[in-house]
């Protein structure tokens, strides 16, 4: 019934494979996975693989972190080649070097494992992007 669970999505991401759901009605790619197409709400979806590449649309440097995390770190919103936007962290750049020049820069996807914390549903895996020359 649920085509791609968060555990399956995380397991693939751990291998640096970005999985999503392709809508059989309208062709839209939905990522991270959910029960219905992000565009047309159809449940006719099939598991698909994405390239894991795109451009940074926006970013921030978090300097006041929530409990359990160490600041500073970079959060980016990436527009993937296949269309969806995806949030992740950015490595390979000192937070103090981040500027508006980041917007439009090409990135590729890696991953970071986030250990279970208080009030989370187990271990998590997040996209960890890096700049492409």
């Amino acid at each position: 019934m649920y085509k791609l669970t968060h555990n399956q999505y995380f397991a693939a991401l751990k291998e640096d494979n970005l999985m999503g759901l392709k809508c059989l009605e309208c062709g839209t790619m939905t990522v991270p996975p959910k029960a219905t197409c992000d565009r047309c709400s159809s449940t006719e979806l099939e598991v698909a693989s994405l390239a894991g590449e795109g451009v940074i649309r926006t970013f921030t440097v978090i300097r006041v972190a929530p409990e359990g995390l160490q600041a500073p770190y970079l959060v980016v919103m990436v527009e993937l080649e296949e269309g969806p936007w995806l949030m992740g962290n950015l490595e390979g750049l000192e937070p103090d070097q981040a500027s508006m020049d980041l917007i439009g820069k090409r990135v590729k996807l890696g991953h970071k494992v986030v250990a279970q914390m208080q009030y989370t549903a187990g271990e998590g895996v997040v996209p960890l992007f890096s700049l492409v020359d």
């Binding site: 978090i62 959060v75 919103m77 527009e79 949030m87």
Partner: protein
């Protein structure tokens, strides 16, 4: 549907307090009931908003305790509502629907939050739970982080140099602090300078400390009634002209979140129901949790063109006495933002403005007012239009 009116409002001073959730709520609720010329026993149902009580005071199942606190009997249903920062506005809209439908005649709506004792680290984490917890919160996303990303996205989209946009944002802080000096219930009642805003500590680039609203304690409450009851009880009922509510998923799924689609949908519903448009609004209390948030809200509600909200602030168009007075109470920025109470506090201000009771911060001749409350990163948005 029958006409529904606000017949009484109540609010505590916002800011750190020694009072607990139940005590804060009781203060606002009993004020609203007294102003309505009613007794607690006249209340037929309670809809109450609270977001963090489970974490803040270890109190779940809050609604019944709050009902009992103010003397509502065992026959009175009490419902706790949660929609992040839009919580109390969701409670208000639901209560409105029950009264409009004729199921109840007199309903109490309230909101309350108590966070000042939690500490920045736990409070930041608990607030961040209002983002998508399964994917996006794991990136270490915080709410200042959401609006920091929004600021960069907005600057890029509209081709506004970041320094120029930061100046416009600072002007929002200066205006709202100025308005706060005229509000005896505001958490901050002192002026702030552009220099102080622009030299504050960086929280999440490019959001600095004085771009942010504070963590706040506080409560607000509103009594609503069907038209027949309202006219019997008080001289100046404030009519509910329109309501709207929209929903959205994780921030990434919204793509260009400089224009929040859940807000556009919600505002559209409220305008349509009221049969009016943005030009008819005299005064608006909107969701300025961060300075950039006021700018994008003022555009999405239709007061200014997209990309022009910041210029409008710089020109004084959103000052009291400007084209449209925005956040005369001081807004979340200066009045404070006890997240579960904010929606009712916005309604409190608009009701007082329409009744002409706001003293130095009164918007002259205000006849129609609007509230805008944003829950999380636009997961829940509510708009309410009120008129005399």
């Amino acid at each position: 549907m029958r006409e529904v009116a606000i017949i009484g409002v109540g609010m505590t001073k916002f800011g750190p307090t020694h009072l607990n959730i139940k005590e804060l709520f009781a203060e606002a609720a009993l004020q609203a009931i007294e102003q309505s010329n009613l007794k607690s026993v006249d209340i037929q149902a309670l809809f109450v908003g609270n977001v963090l009580g489970d974490f803040a005071e270890g109190q779940m199942n809050l609604a019944g305790f709050l009902a009992n606190e103010i003397g509502l009997g065992p026959h009175v249903p009490a419902t706790r509502v949660e929609g992040a920062c839009a919580t109390a506005s969701v409670a208000f809209r639901d209560a409105f629907l029950w009264v409009a439908a004729g199921f109840y005649d007199i309903v109490l709506v309230g909101g309350v939050e108590k966070v000042s004792h939690m500490g920045t680290s736990l409070a930041t984490r608990a607030f961040a739970m209002a983002t998508d917890s399964h994917y996006e919160e794991l990136c270490g996303l915080t709410f200042p982080g959401v609006f920091a990303m929004l600021t960069h996205l907005y600057a890029d989209k509209h081709g506004i140099p970041l320094a120029a946009l930061k100046n416009q944002m600072a002007r929002v802080a200066v205006k709202n602090h100025h308005n706060g000096t005229m509000n005896p219930l505001a958490q901050f009642q002192s002026e702030i300078t552009m220099e102080k805003v622009l030299n504050g500590p960086m929280v999440c680039d490019p959001i600095q400390l004085y771009d942010c609203c504070p963590f706040s304690d506080g409560a607000a409450a509103v009594v609503i009634a069907g038209r027949e009851v309202a006219r019997k009880k008080i001289d100046k009922p404030v009519r509910v002209l329109g309501v709207g509510q929209g929903s959205a998923g994780a921030l990434s799924r919204q793509k260009d979140f400089t224009v929040m689609q859940s807000r556009a949908a919600s505002a559209g519903q409220a305008y349509k129901m009221a049969g009016i448009g943005p030009r008819d609004i005299d005064v608006c209390e909107l969701h300025d949790c961060f300075t950039i948030a006021e700018i994008v809200a003022s555009e999405c509600l239709g007061f200014f063109d997209f990309g022009k909200g910041g210029t409008a602030v710089e020109r004084g168009e959103t000052d009291i006495g400007g084209k449209i007075a925005i956040n005369p109470s001081g807004g979340l920025k200066a009045k404070g933002h006890p997240i579960g109470a904010t929606g009712c506090a916005q309604i409190y201000e608009i009701a007082k403005q329409l009744r002409g009771e706001c003293g130095a911060r009164q918007v002259d001749g205000a006849r129609i007012g609007m509230t805008d409350t944003l829950g999380g990163d636009a997961g829940t948005v509510v708009n309410i239009i009120l008129g005399l």
